[in-house]
């Protein structure tokens, strides 16, 4: 219950904060079914202080009203919270909702274009937290633009980041209602794990073959849709694997992000995989299958239909 609140509460900085923070993220994931009710209680009075995913303490004198959202997931959340009007810049990958297309395109979200960001005069810049963005974050701060770095990789990040955005924009009520709706929809969409779930091989890239392990969004939504990722034992979120190990794991179906029979399915070495020989594919194009956000419950629902439809 308390996980989310602990994360968002203003705290004095101490060095191990980043570690505690990431540890809490996992605890929070478990606590989310209970909800995030406590967030709204805190009124946005005085300066807003948050600790972001980089472990940096960010202070805003007043709620942000001009947000450069350089992560597709935060763009989706802001629009879903009814605060799309406060988004003054987005990445070229922000393709949902349709209204986001009218927001100025600032280019890439990783190693962003600083001049393009400065040109829209944001009072808050949302950056994906990665080593490649650290220099850009420092530079933006030295130019007087507050930066909040977030990692949005998993389903549990959706309500967590919604809460964070609610605080930053002084829209906690909208954020909490979004988070509650999300949790309810997620619970409704999630399939109770069957005793013998179809075993699914997630192929995210063909040459070389790359799959994802349990610490990934795709693996999460497939498990919630009633399937089991055959590479759930992989510690890394993604990795290159050999066809030989796919043969040995003998999946029931192959998840692919293409709409048609993928090109690799015709290649001779892949015929050793039963699911490829039998053309058992789960097609799922569309960005809701590649990033956690308000559309994730719907994505899980559609996946569940396809997984149920697999011949047993």
């Amino acid at each position: 219950m308390g996980g989310a609140i602990t994360i968002l509460r203003p705290v004095p900085i101490f060095p191990e904060r980043a570690f505690v923070f990431s540890a809490l993220r996992w605890i929070t994931a478990a606590a989310f079914t209970v909800g995030l009710g406590g967030c709204a209680a805190e009124p946005a009075r005085g300066p807003i202080v948050v600790v972001d995913d980089a472990g940096d303490t960010v202070r805003l004198a007043r709620p942000a009203s001009r947000v450069a959202s350089l992560i597709p997931a935060t763009t989706e959340l802001l629009f879903a919270m009814g605060r799309g009007g406060n988004v003054v810049g987005r990445t070229r990958w922000c393709d949902w909702p349709a209204a986001a297309a009218r927001v100025p395109d600032l280019g890439d979200g990783i190693v962003p274009n600083l001049e393009a960001i400065a040109a829209v005069r944001p009072d808050l810049v949302l950056l994906y937290h990665s080593a490649q963005n650290a220099a850009a974050a420092d530079r933006l701060r030295s130019l007087g633009m507050p930066v909040v770095q977030v990692r949005s990789d998993l389903l549990a990040d959706v309500p967590r980041i919604a809460g964070l955005l609610g605080r930053l924009l002084g829209a906690s009520a909208a954020a909490d209602s979004l988070a509650r709706t999300f949790d309810a929809e997620l619970a409704a969409a999630s399939v109770r794990p069957p005793s013998d779930p179809p075993r699914i091989f997630i192929l995210v890239w063909e040459q070389p073959p790359i799959t994802v392990g349990r610490g990934s969004y795709l693996s999460e939504i497939i498990e919630r849709a009633g399937g089991r990722n055959v590479y759930a034992d992989l510690p890394a979120s993604s990795g290159q694997i050999s066809v030989e190990s796919v043969v040995a794991r003998d999946p029931d179906a192959v998840f692919t992000s293409s709409d048609t029979i993928p090109g690799f399915a015709r290649r001779p070495e892949w015929q050793a995989v039963r699911a490829v020989r039998d053309r058992r594919f789960i097609h799922a194009s569309g960005s809701e299958f590649s990033r956690p956000g308000p559309r994730s419950p719907a994505a899980i629902g559609r996946l569940a239909d396809r997984i149920r439809g697999l011949p047993r």
Partner: protein, 322 residues
């Protein structure tokens, strides 16, 4: 002869290890029955995946070794390697263009890499033919570097301007690997590489003379210009095919010929087969490591060739100095 037989034994052992080990741990008995009987449970893995992969790695490694030895003699520069002549840049550009134009990938990527490599080779060749029909090795070196740099620049521009987020995976493919091996790939490579291999082996005597210097070679009765052109064409064709099947695998072509020369100083008649056997065996072992050290994950084989090969070579260098 003894040494060549020793290298052949090394190559055979490497192939045995390559077929015996993989990302799935199989006991030797199962590997053997998978190899011997088509209906054995392991036959799918051993016959359809491991065997063609090990053989392809062997041929590609051998090809890179032979090309490296030949090109080092041709340009008389110890730093020469099969990718020297702008090939890697051209191949990379071809692969990136194919992915940028048609996200989804598949076969066209290797094909585009091959076309890109050959385009770079033709361009380098055109730039290096000076004063009539003479092929100047020094100009060849420089033209190779220049064309390679230009291709890399265009490649970077395409990546920055393109909308395909998958493009970073083009680099993964270029890092090299044998994940896409099958009997078909192996057959294609065999059919294709017979002529370049035959050309290079037939030119072994000319390479000995070229290594002494062009003038000496001319005095000793070699058609120097013809030999240089043939070596260049054959080595380029062979390298381009290896790029198309397995990406850019560094280090094998540079170091294997040197290592063989360090072990004993053979003439090219022996150096070329020795480089073939050593390069092939080395690449099979490197690929086996790439498949097994972090299984079920795989490392790009180029990472292994450098990680294992560099220290080995450093030891060889020191030993011969002492």
């Amino acid at each position: 002869m003894m040494r060549l037989a020793g290298l052949a034994a090394f190559a055979l052992i490497a192939l045995t290890i390559g077929v015996g080990a993989g990302s799935v741990a199989l006991p030797p008995g199962e590997v053997w029955s998978g190899l011997a009987r088509a209906d054995a449970p392991a036959s799918l893995i051993v016959r359809n995946l491991r065997l063609p992969r090990a053989l392809l790695a062997f041929l590609v490694g051998g090809g890179l070794g032979v090309c490296g030895a030949a090109l080092q003699a041709l340009v008389r520069n110890p730093l020469a390697d099969p990718y020297l002549l702008g090939l890697s840049g051209g191949a990379g550009l071809g692969a990136v263009l194919a992915i940028a134009a048609r996200p989804g990938s598949g076969w066209p990527v290797p094909l585009a890499a091959f076309v890109g490599a050959m385009a770079a080779v033709v361009l380098v060749y055109r730039l290096s033919v000076v004063s009539g029909r003479r092929l100047d090795p020094r100009v060849l070196l420089l033209a190779g570097v220049v064309v390679g740099a230009f291709a890399s620049a265009v490649m970077s521009a395409v990546i920055v301007l393109s909308d395909a987020p998958q493009l970073r995976n083009a680099f993964l493919w270029l890092l090299g690997g044998f994940t896409a091996s099958s009997w078909q790939t192996l057959g294609l490579f065999v059919v294709y590489s017979v002529i370049p291999f035959a050309m290079l082996f037939a030119l072994a005597r000319s390479l000995d003379l070229l290594a002494l210097g062009e003038e000496t070679a001319l005095h000793l009765g070699t058609d120097v210009e013809r030999a240089k052109r043939l070596v260049y064409v054959a080595a380029s064709l062979l390298t381009a095919a290896s790029v198309a099947t397995s990406g850019i695998i560094g280090f094998v072509g540079l170091v294997v010929p040197h290592a063989v020369r360090r072990l004993w100083s053979p003439l090219h008649v022996a150096l070329l087969p020795a480089s073939f056997l050593a390069g092939g065996g080395f690449l099979v072992l490197a690929d086996t490591l790439a498949r097994t050290v972090i299984r079920p994950l795989e490392l790009p084989v180029g990472v292994v060739t450098a990680l294992v090969g560099v220290p080995l070579f450093a030891v060889l260098l020191r030993r011969n100095l002492a």
